[in-house]
Structure formats: C-alpha cells, structure tokens
C-alpha cells in the first residue's frame, strides 16, 4: 500500500482520465434519456482529450510559443526541454472539433427523434415502436 500511493500520485493523470472516461461510457450505455447519453458521449471524448493533453505536459516547461526575436532568430537558443510537447495539443484541436461536430449531428438526430415520437426516453420510444409493429 505504501508503495502504491506514490505510484498513483506519480501517474494520477491516467487515473483521472480513466475514471472520467468510464463515467462517460457508463452514461452512454446505461442512461435511458437520449440527451443524457449524448452528454455521456461528450464526457467520454473529453476524457480522451485530457489524456492526450496530459501526455504533452513536461515538468518545468512552458507553452510552445518560441520567445525569439520574431524573425526566425534564436536558433540553437531553443531548448526543446523548455517547451511542452506541441503535437498532442494540435491533435486535440482536431479531436475537439470532431467531438463538436459529432455533438451537432447527434443533437440534430435527437431533435428529429423527438419530432417523431414526442419523447427522448428510450424505452418509451421502443414501446411506441412495438405498438406500431403490433398493429
């Protein structure tokens, strides 16, 4: 136990993102209301974004904007260790945009569904569908 705690402390970012992700996943599977499912989906994606961003972090480093003379100067002066890793950030910009787009489409579908069945509770909808099938 004594050696487990520092292990967790050293890698708490993974714990946090995992827990967040699982919360989102649980919501997506277990929730009955479609909008809640959509929210769960967002939490899920956000968790992964956090995961990537946490990869990029370096102790004692700052954000990757080169403090040069602004004209391509400062070559050699640049120490990679002074700046955090830019790649995950730009990947996550993409991921964020993707998740926003997905959210938009999901909401559009949800609206369409509401228009059709007058509810967003999944089992009500299934019940209605069974009624239609029955007739």
């Amino acid at each position: 136990m004594t050696d487990l705690l520092p292990l967790i402390a050293a890698k708490y970012n993974y714990w946090i993102y995992t827990i967040l992700m699982m919360i989102g996943l649980y919501a997506m599977i277990a929730k009955n209301n479609l909008v809640k499912k959509i929210i769960g989906m967002n939490i899920f994606q956000t968790a992964i974004i956090l995961f990537y961003v946490s990869i990029a972090y370096k102790k004692g480093a700052t954000l990757p904007i080169i403090m040069g003379d602004g004209h391509g100067g400062g070559h050699g002066a640049i120490q990679a260790a002074d700046y955090i890793n830019p790649l995950p950030h730009c990947l996550m910009l993409t991921a964020i945009v993707v998740s926003v787009a997905t959210l938009g489409v999901a909401l559009a579908l949800a609206i369409k569904i509401y228009r059709q069945y007058g509810t967003l509770e999944e089992d009500d909808i299934n019940h209605q569908i069974r009624m239609q099938a029955g007739q």
């Binding site: 370096k58 990757p64 070559h75 938009g104 559009a108």
Partner: protein
C-alpha cells in the same frame, strides 16, 4: 442492463488502470512522446514556418492535411444538420402572431389567413414566447457584438504569435452572430446572414483551404506545400509558408463561422427557420 453496463465499464476501466504501471510518470520530460518527434518541431518549427506559435505551425503546416479534414468535418456536420432537419415551411401552416407597431395591437392570424409580408414597417412578426421590452438586452448586444467581431479577427490573424487561429476566431465570429440572433430574434439574424450565404461561405471557406493546397500542386510542389506560393507572393520559402498558414487560417475561420451559425439556425428552430431562441 445497468448492472451489465457497470460490470463492462468496471472491467474496461480496470484493464486500463492495470496497465498504467509501465506508463511514464506525469510530466516526465524523458518519455518517448516528448523525446522522439516533438523536439524537432520545437527546434525547427519557427525556422521552417516563421511561426513562433509551434502549435499553429504543426497544426497548419506540418500536419496541415489533418487540419484540412478537421475543417471538412465541421462542414460535413453543417451539411448533416441541414440535411437531417431542414423543412421548407410553406406560409399558413400554423397560426402566427403579428404586432401592429403604430397602435401596439397584437393580432393572431389563423392558419390559411393572409400574412403581411416579412419586411413591412407596420407589422412586426412576434415569436410565440414574446418578451415585450428587450431594449436593454438588444442595445447591450448591439454595443458588444462589433468588439467581439474585431477581437475575433485579431485572434485569426494573430494565430502565428499567440494562442489562437482559425478555429478559435471562427467560433468567436459565429458567437457574435448567434448573440445577435438570441438578443433580437432568429428571423432578423437570418435576414442579415441568410442560410444560403452561410452554406455557400461554409463551402467557400473549405475551398480556400483545399484550393490553396491544390494551387501548390498546380505550381508543381506537393499538395499543401506552401513554399510553392513563394513566387506568387514574392517572398522566400519560409515566409511563403507563414503566409500560407495565414491564408488557410482565414479559410478555416470563414468555414467555421458560417457552419456553426448554420448549425445553430437548424438546431434552434428544429429546421423550420421561422422562430427559435
């Protein structure tokens, strides 16, 4: 179902947590992630692209191809919302409320009745959830919106040097228009910035991006290799890359603004575009 979900979730989580052991510590500067590729970007980024903000450099140049599809995703989302939701509403399919401005009388015209035309000075269409005096909200927004837009332009243009860029700027621009729509009403903002314009400028924005890339291709370089634009812009290769970044950032901003507004129109009015938030 819930129990099943719980078990599945716990198992997955457990599997992932279980493996954290041999992952690098949080913020470890010597992890492969921060030693293999990123040093190159950090050390040569500015030299290659003349953009001190390395994230912008990577986003718009090194991995510009990703970003092009990022923009396309936004555009596709806009198309999808339109495609799924939009319904052409012919007039007179449901009763409407009008307000006679001189007298302040409110009249309700039943379906099938004759409505006054949209841009009459005498009658003003009212939403069903009508708030009589929004004067404060309206005027504050009228005051704020221009500043938002100017700031957005700054964010777009300054993406090289500070956090920001096409996406952020585009979202801000969209926010301005959406704010207008909220503070006044949807019809008015559609009147200012119509659906057609939104759709067209959305595709135009993406076209600026992809077109710039294709232009490089026509000039004999690889796709999206802005160095080819140098002769056109009359600058050297590095500067050309910097300008290229600016061009595509503008395209992105345009696309994002237009599409997000478009999505807002469709979502807020459930595709009817007659009234919404």
């Amino acid at each position: 179902m819930r129990l099943l979900a719980l078990i599945a979730v716990v198992l997955t989580g457990g599997l992932i947590i279980f493996h954290t052991g041999d992952l690098p510590d949080f913020g470890d500067p010597n992890s492969p992630a921060s030693t293999h590729l990123s040093p190159y970007y950090l050390e040569h980024g500015e030299g290659d692209t003349h953009a001190p903000n390395i994230v912008s450099a990577v986003l718009a140049d090194y991995r510009g191809f990703d970003t092009m599809f990022e923009t396309t995703v936004v555009f596709a989302a806009g198309l999808a919302c339109f495609f799924l939701l939009r319904r052409k509403t012919e007039p007179g399919d449901k009763p409407r409320m009008y307000r006679h401005l001189p007298t302040g009388v409110t009249l309700r015209i039943k379906s099938g009745g004759t409505f006054p035309e949209e841009d009459s000075t005498e009658f003003r269409r009212m939403d069903s959830h009508f708030v009589p005096h929004q004067i404060i909200i309206k005027n504050t927004c009228r005051l704020v919106i221009p500043f938002i837009q100017v700031f957005a332009l700054y964010v777009v243009a300054h993406g090289h040097y500070s956090p920001g860029g096409g996406f952020q700027g585009g979202v801000l621009l969209a926010a301005a228009i959406i704010l207008y729509a909220i503070s006044h009403d949807l019809r008015r903002s559609i009147h200012r910035f119509s659906e057609k314009v939104a759709a067209l400028s959305g595709s135009l924005g993406v076209f600026i991006y992809a077109g710039a890339g294709a232009l490089c291709l026509l000039l004999g370089a690889n796709f999206l290799n802005y160095e080819a634009l140098g002769p056109l812009l009359g600058v050297d290769a590095v500067m050309a890359r910097s300008h290229g970044i600016l061009i595509i950032e503008i395209g992105v901003a345009l696309a994002v603004m237009a599409v997000i507004v478009w999505i807002y129109y469709n979502l807020s009015s459930a595709g009817k575009h007659d009234e919404g938030l």
